[in-house]
């Protein structure tokens, strides 16, 4: 295992200066995912207009992987359709669990995130915000 792979420049950048991150108030309409084995927690919210998702934000307490993952998520998925968001969640989660190999372009931050799959104890760190997003999407359109 090579740690430089896990802690790539782009992951570190997102960790150190997370995008779309702020402290949510308890009464905001976020959804939360929590990893009981380590205490990491991430909250996600955004807006939906028509079938467009916009303004995704997160509030994450966690390690470099979970923060970077949340940051990449907000950046990448804001502005896409609900459909597309759901598809991206499945693609990343399946990719991290080695069930399917997503075709991310090499420079895509998602490709960097995908390297976490080689560190089994950290996969949940990478999926946490994506779980929260999925819950949040479920609440937007309960179809």
């Amino acid at each position: 295992m090579n740690l430089d792979e896990l802690y790539q420049e782009i992951i570190l950048a997102h960790f150190k200066r997370p995008h779309h991150a702020r402290n949510f108030a308890e009464d905001e309409a976020f959804e939360e995912a929590f990893n009981p084995t380590c205490g990491d927690k991430t909250r996600v919210l955004g807006q939906v207009a028509g079938d467009r998702v916009s303004g995704l934000e997160h509030d994450t307490q966690g390690c470099a992987i979970s923060i970077a993952s949340a940051s990449i998520l907000c950046e990448r998925l804001s502005g896409t359709s609900v459909e597309e968001c759901r598809a991206q969640v499945r693609t990343l989660v399946d990719g991290l669990h080695g069930r399917r190999v997503p075709g991310y372009p090499e420079q895509d931050p998602l490709a960097a995130l995908l390297t976490v799959k080689r560190f089994p104890m950290r996969i949940r760190c990478a999926t946490l915000s994506w779980e929260a997003l999925e819950k949040w999407l479920d609440r937007q359109d309960p179809a």
Partner: protein, 408 residues
Amino acid sequence: MDYPIDTIRDDFPILSAKTDSGAPMVYLDNAATSQKPSVVVDAIRTYYEETNANVHRGMHHLAEKATAEFEGAREAIAAFVGAPDARSVIFTRGTTESINLVAQAWGRKFLKAGDEVVLSIMEHHSNIVPWQMLAQASGVRLKYIPMLDDGSLDLEAYRALLQGPVKLVSVTHVSNALGTVNPIAEIISLAHEAGARILIDSAQGIPHGPVDVTALDADFLAFSAHKMCGPTGFGVLYGKEALLEVMDPFLGGGEMIHTVGLESSTWADLPYKFEAGTPNIAGAIVTRTAIAYLQGIGFDAIEKQVHDVTDYAVKALSRVEGLTLHGNPPERGGALAFNMEGLHPHDISQIINEEGIAIRAGHVCCQPLMERLGRPAIARASFYFYNTVEEVDRLVASLDTVKKIFRI
């Protein structure tokens, strides 16, 4: 005589192992579980190859032998904790089951709505959740002794809490997160003055030094074998005989009965009333071996080595820039918790693992303590008598790697 650290380390083959990355291992996760010396592993083999039988119910050769070794272990463990009689030593799976046993078999019978149970903010989840379940079932109220900033319990606040209708105090002997050694003698006598019973969670205490339940006048004391060179799946509840006698049974089944009728049954004498089903026989027997091993090294020597290494670690880590050590209690056992600025404990743990260094990162089963510290997670290094200052040096050096990777 010098402390024979090399011989001791040789007793633990795993300490010479290398991790996948080829680094020699530095095991600093002893508060989670200790390593096992060869004598203990050998004793498991000897048990299964020469003695194995179910206990108590047979009068053939092996059953007699197994029963004698099993009950011999109980006698030895009773002597080890200073129990006046082996009848007051109950075998469980570990500290967690021991505490649940008291919560259910004593708490459900003797505590009622409005009664208070006093815990502390630094308890392990295993000494919180059983009481919450009791509270839910019976309306008992839980109170928490707060912590001072140095990581010690606020004994003034404890005295104040004892003014309430407190029926039980249940606190940890040594904090698994901060290493704080609590003044249990004082905590016990204050509880008794207030007319409350007391349970001591010694999961992190007794591995480092023997406890005399009689001298301490503890009502209940719980610990786990796996944290003191013993096997997984075995632990102990000591209880005063008079308390155990009047408690309801815990689990029902073979061994814990006197007579079984179709409608109802009567219970066996102590300690069997609380030991339903086939126990962890090998576990009991080799825990005795583990205790004898520790006694062979000598608890004074154990305490000194752990103290020296921990002290050294406290000093060395204090010099690391950006590192916050949590608490500075008057007495500290073999554990310490820290955070590093701009870094999450998981990342620290993951990175130093590549250099072979095993610490723990997370809430270490103390979410309320994490709230108190204002940190979602900590990094914890915990030492046992086979650890060395050189290992501490390697820990400290590895933190540089972390900074380098994170460009700090």
